[in-house]
């Protein structure tokens, strides 16, 4: 019993530290940029600093916080329901699906609204994620590394359809933005779509225990009276909705949904009920750091965040694989 209480205290302390770190990084993120914000003027009507802060910096920081949190949480849920540590929205085609949906919406409507794009992105992402899960169910040999490989294959097939559409209908330029994630366009009037993610996060928290149980398998879930299919489907909807919204506003952020949950899992385990918020907060911090690097490295210009996240994430990902390999020899 004492052990359990100690465990809870430790977790609260970790969460508090992470929140504090995220808050400090957010402040740094607010104050850094090509133009200096004069804080004494920032809250006076009509000044440049004020416009900068409210039209650009605050939307950008909020976008970072929401996407970091959302992307890592859906990665965590995806890994749980697919029962594979290397599955994430990027490695299973959900993001490619969202991109295809957006491309289709551009073909269909001459003047497309963000909400229409979101809807198309969501539906198409859901379809691709569903196909992935279907193949996964059918697959006899669920070798740990084959599963994401399969997802990547599916993803590239979908992406080539998207590229084809873009060539044919001449919107390759626009498409580029959705392939390489960047927060430079997350400004007032464009980023608000991300608020749609917040309710889905609440749903994730609500189903945290169910997702964990589903991660232990269909038999285990059925035995406990949990409807496995429904829980998996709720997970897929969440994954697709969040992927869709983030792809539209920010673009693809590779590895985030893969690396963050895995790192947390190494130290904190796979019980979503206990660590879903830790994963989300770690994701926020990770992406805030990456974004700061993007904005400083070729200052006053900036790199797309996908680049930095890709490089750092790739390194961490390799580390994870090596750790896994080492682990598998032990048993």
């Amino acid at each position: 019993m004492n052990l359990a209480i100690k465990d809870i205290n430790k977790r609260s302390l970790i969460k508090l530290t992470l929140i504090l770190a995220a808050a400090i990084l957010s402040l740094v993120s607010l104050s850094i940029g090509a133009e200096e914000i004069i804080w004494s003027e920032a809250f006076t009507e009509g000044t440049f600093s004020r416009t900068l802060l409210f039209k650009s910096r605050i939307p950008r920081t909020i976008s970072l916080l929401i996407s970091g949190f959302g992307m890592s949480i859906i990665g965590l849920i995806f890994q749980q329901i697919s029962r594979n540590k290397f599955v994430s929205p990027t490695t299973a085609g959900s993001v490619s699906g969202a991109q295809l949906g957006i491309a289709i919406s551009l073909v269909f409507f001459s003047k497309v609204s963000t909400l229409q794009m979101m809807l198309f992105g969501f539906v198409s992402s859901l379809a691709v994620t569903g196909i992935f899960m279907y193949i996964l169910r059918r697959l006899k040999f669920k070798e740990v590394v084959y599963v994401p490989l399969l997802g990547l294959m599916l993803g590239s097939v979908i992406s080539s359809i998207t590229s084809f559409l873009a060539y044919k209908y001449n919107f390759l330029q626009v498409l580029y933005g959705w392939f390489y994630g960047s927060f430079s366009l997350a400004i007032s009037g464009r980023y608000e779509l991300l608020y749609l993610i917040i309710p889905t996060l609440f749903v994730s928290f609500f189903y945290a225990k169910a997702f964990t149980i589903a991660g232990l398998g269909e038999n285990f879930s059925t035995n406990l009276g949990l409807n496995y299919r429904i829980v998996v489907n709720i997970g897929l909807v969440l994954i697709s909705a969040v992927s869709g919204a983030i792809v539209i506003v920010v673009g693809n952020i590779p590895f985030l949904g893969l690396v963050v949950p895995n790192i947390v899992s190494l130290y904190g385990g796979d019980n979503l009920e206990k660590n879903i918020s830790i994963v989300g907060l770690t994701g926020m911090i990770f992406i805030l750091c990456c974004d700061l690097i993007c904005r400083r490295i070729i200052y006053p210009y900036e790199l797309p965040i996908a680049l930095v996240v890709g490089v750092i994430g790739c390194g961490l990902f390799l580390m994870l694989i090596f750790r896994k390999e080492a682990g598998s020899y032990e048993t």
Partner: protein, 251 residues
């Protein structure tokens, strides 16, 4: 009571379970034994609604498993199957806690915690209760899963080869715990088991399956007969009586 009537299961055209009818009595341990491929686990799976059936019915307390409310059935019947969740990083304590899910989906109550502690104690896991499943040996993991089924505290407990990965000490201790559950708490236990001698020593009834059909069901004495067993397993048996228990010798 579990009433099975004309139960059928086909995979493609192959009948894995072929019109089996039997009744499993309450408050007893019933073992299901038979050669490989006899359909033991499939039968258990269909009783527990984890495998779809193709025909017939399974009544639990007079209600068909299909008509039971999912969550309600989870409070009456628990099944432990062969598990493949090896690389999940969940602590033993959490896993056992999931056994209480049918009762308190959200937060665990004080009562739940007591039951969880007792189940962990039963399976001798107290010292490693905060260890992750992927760090355990096969036997420890098996005991953790068994503890979670015990925490589920159901009247019917179905176990699919629970002795796998357990050494002799834990296997016999575990069967003694099952015996206690039946004798003291009036639970009904159905167990698929390979070791015929364990089945003979600890169960009340034995169901013998062969090639998807019910070969014979009876008390231990009725089944532990060299002629009956030789017929099923196609090999010579020698049944001995040791300390009042029937033991088979086979090599």
């Amino acid at each position: 009571m579990i009433k099975i009537n004309e139960l059928e299961k086909k995979y493609g055209r192959k009948k894995v379970i072929d019109k089996i009818s039997l009744e499993i009595p309450k408050g007893k341990i019933t073992s299901i034994i038979g050669p490989n491929g006899a359909g033991k686990s499939t039968l258990l799976g269909m009783i527990s609604r984890t495998i779809e059936r193709n025909g017939g019915s399974v009544l639990i307390d007079e209600v068909d498993v299909k008509d039971w409310e999912n969550n309600e059935l989870a409070k009456h019947l628990g099944i432990l199957k062969q598990s493949d969740s090896v690389n999940v990083r969940i602590t033993i304590e959490d896993l056992v806690g999931f056994g209480r899910y049918p009762y308190s989906e959200g937060r665990l109550t004080e009562e739940d915690r007591k039951i969880i502690d007792r189940s962990i104690g039963y399976m001798d896991l107290e010292s490693i209760r905060l260890a992750y499943l992927d760090e355990l040996s096969g036997g420890q993991r098996q005991r953790a899963y068994i503890a979670s089924i015990l925490a589920q505290d159901t009247e019917y407990i179905l176990l699919d080869e629970p002795l796998n990965n357990l050494d002799m000490k834990y296997a016999s201790e575990f069967l003694k715990i099952l015996r206690q559950l039946v004798d003291d708490l009036k639970k009904t236990i159905v167990i698929v088991i390979h070791d015929i001698n364990f089945a003979a020593c600890y169960s009340d009834f034995i169901v013998l399956l062969k090639e998807g059909k019910l070969a014979k069901m009876g008390t231990v004495r009725e089944i532990m007969d060299a002629r009956v067993l030789e017929d099923i397993y196609d090999m010579p048996f020698n049944v001995l009586e040791v300390d009042g228990k029937l033991i088979c010798a086979y090599y």
